[in-house]
Amino acid sequence: MAEWNAYFRDEDDGEAPEEGEEPEGDYKVTGRDCLVFLVDASKEMFIKGEDGEPTNFDMTMQVVRSVYTRKIISSRGDLVALVFYGTKQSQDPTKSFKHVYVYHNLSELGAKRVQQVDALRGEKGALLAAETMGSDETSLCDALWCCANLYRDCKLRLGHKRLLIFTCRDQPHGGDSVKDRQARTQASDLRETGVVIELMHLMKAGGFDVSLFFRDVISPPEDESELGLQHEPCEKLADLQRRVRAKEQKKRTMAKLNLCLGEGVNVAVGMYAVAVTARKPGAIRLYRESNEPVRSKSRTFHTETGSLLLPSEIKKAQVYGNKQIVMEKDEVDAIKKFDDPGLFLIGFKAMEELKVHHHIRPAVFLYPAEGEVKGSSCLFSALLTKCVERNVFALCRCISRRNYPPRFVALVPQEEELDEGKVQTTPPGFNVIYLPYADDLRNLDPPQTPCASPTQVDKMREIVHKLRFKYRSDAFENPVLQQHYRNLEALALDMMAPDDIEDLIMPKVDQIDRRLGPLVQEFKDLVYPADYNPDNKSAAKRKAAEAGGTAEKKPKVAVSEDELRARIQQGTLGKMTVPLLKEACKQLGVRTTGTKKQELMDALVDKLAT
């Protein structure tokens, strides 16, 4: 299990990973991220909403489940625990706390755990929870202490530690000041060991007053100006999902760089990957007999002497123009180096200059790093304000890591946006858009086709209008990944068949047809002749191939009549290619019906023999 990234690495040509990729999951460097869910299991959590809305407990379990499955996919090295407090039964590894129930100890997630959380959902879940745990007195102090032990007893190296408290009670101890004080002390001890405590407070009748107790329990916001405590309690599942999601991951920089505006004016910034293509993780090799993972070792040796080769006994080479050109390994690196890492401002351009199709890789996000250079945030903020105001972007030369060749990027300003609940939906900063070089653009020869008339366009407008919807970037799951994980889940749990997935990126054809009604036919009548059939595949295919062919120049041939005669005599006519033969037929004015090589050859022989 130690070699998380081993199978992704391609050591052979020594190429560095893609620039856009971050060293994700490199636990050797950073330790594992830990997340503890501390969930209130008091009776209040099980009260149903008015219109059959799910209970707070049920909502919490749904969120926990989605975090579980998401983590399995995106960050399976993370450690997660689920602890209930205010329970009747007690269960913890040290057996020293009452009213605390450790449902899942701090460890990696697996299929079983997802199932166990599932069991706690819905009506049945509430019953099961009542049976196994029950509700009774609350001691948040004990609960926090228990969590502290979880962190402490974990044998792995820990990275970022987070504790999320889910509750709908703003006074868990009913005003018992001794218990309150104990809990506060315990919380502060916990915070001192680097645990970030967050509150996910849920709706209750009469409102949730954070200031009564919880204000002194949770970690202060990263910055006093952030008004973290004024969040309204969560009412809806979606809100809770979003809030948990924003807090569940630690943001990490891909790089900390200087944004150089000019000689001596350096703003420190952090670069964050906010969208990274999630891929199926690579397969692991297992030993057939025991199903245990194996490690791979590779070594480089000399084929003649058989001795192992040291890095100094190896060089790099490329072959061009029949010549092998050899370089030292460090020369190969030196060639890639243009400058030290950093962003260098070239100038500004109006936003319209940023072309939609100039896209080569996903954007990254830029935010000031005040800790590196004091004053960065202020200058960054001024730059951001002015860029937004003037509707311009900053063009920069960007070297994101050592020995990376430069790329040009557009820094596109982005203002902060909050939703009604004062939760940040869009953070303030610059989006870094990578721009293509001349080599990255392909020359196209656009086919010439006629334009539509205003009537035709209007009809299409009606169609477009009927099919409007509000796009949200997180609305579509990747069916390929989902299916893969369902399959694994089924195999891991010995299920008969995997759960069905819903393919969200499939067009809802029936709905579309219903909404459009007669519009489609009306549009077709306007643009297509009666006998036109776009589905006529064979015709379409052939025509399309020809259309593609027009982009290229037809090869010209220079085969003289004499040469043909010579070839016929020598019997080497068959060595010519079909297009050449065809061309020759055309030149000599031979009409052929066949396209077979033999037919073409026969025709030529006939012609030249006469």
Binding site: N266, P362, A382, K386, P436, R468, E489, I512
Partner: protein, 729 residues
Amino acid sequence: MSRSKSFHVLCMDVGLSMSNSAPGEDSPFELSKQVIQKFVQRQVFAEVKDELALVLFGTDSTRNPLAQDGQYQNITVHRNLMVPDFELLEEIENQVHPENQQADWLDALVVCMDLLQTGIKGKRYDQLNIYFLSDLSVEANSEELDVIVENLKQVDITLQFFLPFSAEEESVDEAGDAGRGGPGARGSGKGLSREQKTGLEMVKHIMLSLDEQDGLDQIYTLRNAIEGLCMFKRTERRPTAWPCQLTIGSALSIRIVGYKAVTEEKLKKTWLTVDALSHKRDHIKKETVYCLDDDNETEVQKDDLIQGFCYGSDIVPFSKVDQEQMKYKHDGKCFAVLGFTNQNLVPRHSFMGIQTIKIFAPGDDQHAGVALSALIRALDELKMVAIVRYAYNRQCNPQIGAAFPCIKMNYECLIYVQLPFMEDLRHFTYTSLNSKKFSPSDTQLQAVDSLIDSMMLVDKDEDGNLKDLFKVHHIPNPAFQRLYQCLHHRAVNPGTALPPIEPWLVAALDRPDVIKERCGVPLDEVKKVFPLKVMEKKKPLKTSAEIFGKDSEQPDAKKAKGDAAEEDEGEEYNLADISEGSVTSVGSVNPARDFRILIKQKTLPFQGACEQLTHRIEQLLGNKNTQYYMKSITCIQAFRELSVKLGKADLYNSYLQLLKGSITNRGLEVFWDLLVQGSISLIGQDEVEGSCVSKNEAAQFLVADEKNEEPVATMADDADDVDDLLDNM
């Protein structure tokens, strides 16, 4: 099937007059040589199968197929048509020199045409080109001119001229090309000899007869040609069509063709690993073995392996066959509309994937063209995009993406880009920048405003036309350019160090000069009103502790290591910082650390660093304060540790003995006790071989000597006093 290829003939004048140049300028010969070098280099690296010949004229000797009876003299076919290679580059570098004859340039042109006509017999060809480089200073025999033009037309040969001067009219030249042509392009008419003028007329005549409209565009100055060849080398790729149907619901479909429009071009070749001595690839073999994760690392055979996947902590064996059978399957190629949405809901930064695709209607299908045009225009008018499901084919995973309308002067299309899946997104929250602490003042905002003003890259010129000073998509990928430059250098000049990056490339990547000039003052203002302070970080200490941490006895080294693990990936950055050599001497803030770094980086010789360190220790000890004593102790520890490490005990030992001698004198008993407590003694022979101190002596140094020392010290004191007295007298 082999693709058809092009044939090129480079025809270069190496005659007497080509070496003439104004002082300080490259001669036309030098420029021409650069042009053909760049041209051949680009052919070699693009690895096209095009054939290329090199004809020189004005040569002392004559070697060409047409040379008979004193005709076609002083013309040499240096290399006949073949695929260019490094040998040719080497020959150009080493064998093409200015020579002393002159030759009729029209004769040379005829030789080139002949070469092409004989060379292409029986071959399929795409294009025939002649590139002609000359200063036209020899009067050519114009009798045959029309025959030549006829012949060029018949065989369909493209001709390009590269001259040391501009072919454009004087008046135009003054206004237009003068700036661009630079010093290499002398104005036409001015300074041209009579022969050159007639020659130029003939060139124009030829070019206009070949192409009435744009013929003159094919006459270049040498200087421009070099710039052009530098900048616009790119590997050509033929676009592949992707025919498909755009569907809206079940009833409406439109035939489309997609072409990849933008994608990051990668180098075609990767580095091979070769043996350092033989330079042979097959002398090296890489072998991978698999072993169990047990103490013996038991090897297992490849056949005994199966594949599995992680599902969280579970490892699930999952054979390839099962995987194939259970995986997500779909109907293959598709471009299906899910719905339409406002363009502003699909912001630029949400684009995923590594390419954009342009979608057209097939050129031969008018009806599809009209239908697609209706969609494009409707979307454009409504400022909307289509959200589509896109699958390249059955084997490829389907994507979700957006199709933007794009209406250009001469064509319309949809531009497709991939959008994210839920799994791809990370939701991070960041502290608001609207707090008082970070809010810029009006003066500060004003300064940034002026900076933006001065650095706008798109500007109006005198005629009110917009002019972009910095078009990224016109810059060639510098990584490729640099690699080719280095490969070329290594191939032609083996055994020498790699050259610096070419100046034109450096300039192309930098701020345009105009901007540099304009932004000077506003930049100074920004510098003035925004205080920026690089934070002193503790990290360098941590990292240095990491470097030496393993054998260091300092208790805080371990702690520092633990802390460092808490930090995010800033480490490399800081490591780079300290290795960048910010430490040049042993400072007073953290002398022990500075000393370690100096020794590590070898910026100072060992002895020099030691002298600096002992100097600091003496300074610290002058303060007689426990805190400073502790600091001194860490210095001495570091001194000892590195002396042992480097096997140089003498400096340390002699310093410590000296120090001991002065303890009582300077009243440093408390400090000495600290040394004794920390048992920091001399370095014995057991630790460093060359030490003059035996193990025993080292051990005794702190304990036994102490008592003996005292009387000696007092005696010395007395002696001093006596001396002083004597002196005073």
